[in-house]
Symmetry: C2
């Protein structure tokens, strides 16, 4: 096999992998229970190719979650949250976080079932750094309260984000309205009185 | 069979049922996966007696949840929350709700698995009336904010209660500390600024 042919083969493999992950991501977003065969069909590859790259449904879902979380972390990094006082940056963090949470609400169902909470936690590490960092800075700047433990204020952030996602799932809240309610609630909860 | 004998049999059955539900409740609180045989053993009854009264694990867990929720609703009713302004009554509601949530954290795991979310929601109806009622009154009294929808403020209450339960489960928060943090956070979130 020539160097040229090897290179070609690696490029083909990368394209297949990218097509599979993209197809799996959009399939999971509309049906968290979608099968491997269906994801192969949507990606336009055979089952043999699918299983060569992803030996299990778990491995494929892991790759989808890695892609989603990578994009979320990049989007949050791009917000330059450190440029604003923490209480002003909060609104931008909430809106960006919500957009990603809302997009991946159904992928999350598949991820919880297939990867388990521990692996999911590891995937969250990069985007999760932002709420922690912002809350910590807001405390130092005295725009956020300091009478509550840091860990609990971070838990408050996620607790309310997930409550909003559950409300949208239950049909009691419009997804487009959520960021505004989250911002108003978190601003008061984190600032205290 | 005499009237006397029938009465005796009914009293025996009631005692068996009460013993089974009590034993199942404490067994589930330490191990949500405990088996029917083990619950029969702990209740001091045979498997035949157990299955006569509770034809399935689901039926038994349903009875346990009904007891827990009945007690929670009674305890909340007894608080006379309507006697205080809503923002003062909030602290008492949080402390009482937390005590019951914390006690039944592991029973909840069994209930979610065995009964499903719909049935669980029905069981919650009586105790759930209290946060709604208190938040609604606080809005009317202008001690709670009115710039957010009622439904979302109720979701905020439950979202934070469950976030605290998750933090305790994860070993990041001491269960005894939770009510104080919850009260401080909810007071700010519901009052607004």
């Amino acid at each position: 096999v020539t160097v040229q042919a090897k290179r070609q083969r690696r490029a083909d493999a990368r394209r297949s992998i990218a097509a599979i992950v993209d197809a799996a991501r959009s399939a999971l977003a509309s049906d968290p229970k979608v099968s491997m065969s269906e994801m192969a069909r949507l990606a336009g590859v055979g089952r043999v190719t699918l299983y060569t790259h992803f030996p299990s449904r778990e491995a494929l879902i892991d790759a989808v979650v890695e892609q989603v979380m990578g994009e979320t972390a990049e989007a949050l990094d791009a917000l330059a949250l450190d440029a604003d006082p923490a209480d002003q940056a909060l609104g931008r963090l909430v809106r960006a976080s919500w957009r990603h949470l809302d997009e991946s609400r159904r992928i999350r169902v598949a991820a919880v079932a297939e990867l388990g909470p521990q692996r999911l936690l590891e995937h969250h590490r990069a985007p999760d750094a932002w709420p922690e960092r912002l809350i910590s800075r807001g405390r130092a700047e005295r725009v956020f309260r300091t009478d509550l433990p840091m860990d609990w204020m971070v838990a408050t952030f996620y607790g309310l984000m997930h409550a909003a996602a559950d409300e949208v799932d239950a049909g009691r809240l419009d997804a487009d309205r959520a960021p505004e309610l989250l911002e108003a609630t978190l601003r008061a909860a984190l600032a205290g009185r």
